[in-house]
């Protein structure tokens, strides 16, 4: 098969749409993950979802349902309990280890072939169906639309919670809303890159964007652009050169971050020199 035939085959086209939907949501939500310094929470929610997926498989349900229930519940819990910056990491850490333990238990109880679990861990973007794409696009659109609506209060609350509170914004509400959106994005992204790597699409492009520009809206667009770049090019390279799609996507996402940080520190050095 020629490269062109591969690229136009239905499974690659499906993957293209799924990746596009995920990159949009992950790029937008990722900006706030980085701004609110909640990379650990983003990381944890994926792993908590793993327990849910393993549990769902055990009782014969679709792993997607388990993912959705566990991720959103964990997101809300972290959002409620960890609204204050001080104890957020502890809350996330305790929830994370508890859930991972459950996941291990569910896996050990499950006697069948663990293929479904493997695909949850590492993603199965070349195997997504049309109905998967529909779900992923719908959730992604919902997440992006929600962020558009709460953009300013969420930004205010993320940047300066004290001032936001005195101006009448509920930081608790913002925290819960955001963690719910983060959980939904995680559920969607798991389809593409898997739980272990969800983190890279959510954090790396956004962190790169934040290093490159100070302006929030520009950073969001840049973050989405970089996520799309990593997703599309990763898919192309996987088809062209072989290797897992999720490897290429995460490698490229991480690379964007490294390049952005390097260029940012060069810029900072120049600024310092200019000021002296």
């Amino acid at each position: 098969m020629s490269l062109w035939q591969l690229l136009t085959s239905s499974f690659v086209i499906h993957a293209f749409f799924a990746i596009t939907a995920v990159a949009l949501a992950a790029g937008v939500v990722g900006y706030f993950v980085v701004l609110r310094r909640q990379a650990f929470a983003a990381h944890a929610i994926g792993h908590i979802g793993f327990a849910g997926a393993a549990g769902a498989i055990l009782i014969g349900w679709s792993p997607l349902i388990g993912l959705l229930v566990f991720c959103v519940t964990a997101g809300i819990l972290v959002g409620v309990a960890g609204a204050s910056l001080d104890d957020r990491d502890t809350v996330v850490g305790v929830t994370l280890t508890g859930a991972l333990g459950l996941g291990v238990l569910f896996l050990s109880l499950y006697s069948g072939y663990a293929n479904a679990t493997y695909s949850i861990l590492f993603g199965q973007v070349l195997g997504v169906s049309v109905s998967d794409i529909r779900t992923v696009s719908l959730v992604s659109a919902l997440v992006v639309a929600s962020i558009v609506v709460i953009f300013r209060p969420l930004l205010f609350s993320s940047v300066d919670s004290q001032s936001a509170a005195s101006r009448g914004i509920s930081n608790q509400l913002m925290s819960v809303l955001f963690m719910t959106l983060l959980a939904l994005t995680t559920v969607v992204a798991v389809q593409v890159v898997g739980i272990l790597l969800v983190f890279s699409l959510l954090v790396a492009p956004a962190a790169a964007a934040e290093a490159l520009t100070s302006h929030p809206i520009r950073a969001v667009f840049l973050s989405v652009g970089l996520a799309l770049f990593a997703g599309w090019l990763g898919l192309f390279l996987a088809v062209w050169l072989g290797g897992p799609v999720s490897f290429w996507i995460t490698a490229l996402a991480s690379l964007t971050y490294v390049v952005a940080r390097a260029s940012d520190s060069l810029k900072t050095q120049r600024l310092r020199k200019a000021r002296v």
Partner: protein, 283 residues
Amino acid sequence: MSILKLEHAGVIRGDRSIWTDASFSIEPGTVTAVLGPNGSGKSTLLQAISGLLPLSSGELLVFGEKSHRGNTAVGHVAQTRVADATSTLTGRDYVGLGMDGVKFGWGRTKGKKEAVNQALKQVGALAFADRPMHSLSGGQRQRIALAHATVFKPKLLLLDEPLAALDIAAQAEIVDLINLLRVEQDMAIVVVAHDLNPLSPIVDQVVWIARRQVKSGTIDEVVNEKVLSDLYGHPIEILVTPSGRRVIVGLEEEFAHPHPHGHDHSGEDGHQHFAELYEEGRQ
């Protein structure tokens, strides 16, 4: 009508009474300095005025209304946060959040650009408004914070330790700026401080909080040996230097032997309290 009026107000946090029976009022275009030892509840007072903390007793009225969050007549600059030092946001964007950060949706706010520009100009921050906040000096960041809290033209401005961690030159600049806001915008300004000295030229009223009591009045009414000795429960002396300045002696004890009511010394720089309080004397 007074901008702010407290009558027998008290605040309890957890099961600890912070202060009780605070009664004073604040008039437009005046500067009020809030002083007292660490953990005496100075920031708590600002939080109560902003509606962030409920009163446990008494009454606190802002423009005749019970204090509540989101009052657009009140601007509040909390103590310098870690977030400032790491924020990649530009000063201009941060000030913009002060204007319409509470609004949901995507619609543009009419006149925002002009208001932000004017607020930045007023505090002399235009030159560095487009740089990320983490690259600014402490004094520059304080100016941006002032623009953030005044961009929506509040009538009452609450400043928590605006002079902390600034060198003397930067302190004098911020004091001039506070005075400018008072004169040009007719704002009432409440400033929490460790040291009255840099503020004394512009202060109309002093609120001194210690041992859960709140005393208020002019500098002469509050910063005298009798009132401070009563407030602290041990003798306080005020010495007059040859240049006419007054030096307050005896406050160190409060720091060295904290009262058993569980004053919270964590989170604040205790050393600053050691700085004696200088007070301009009259020639």
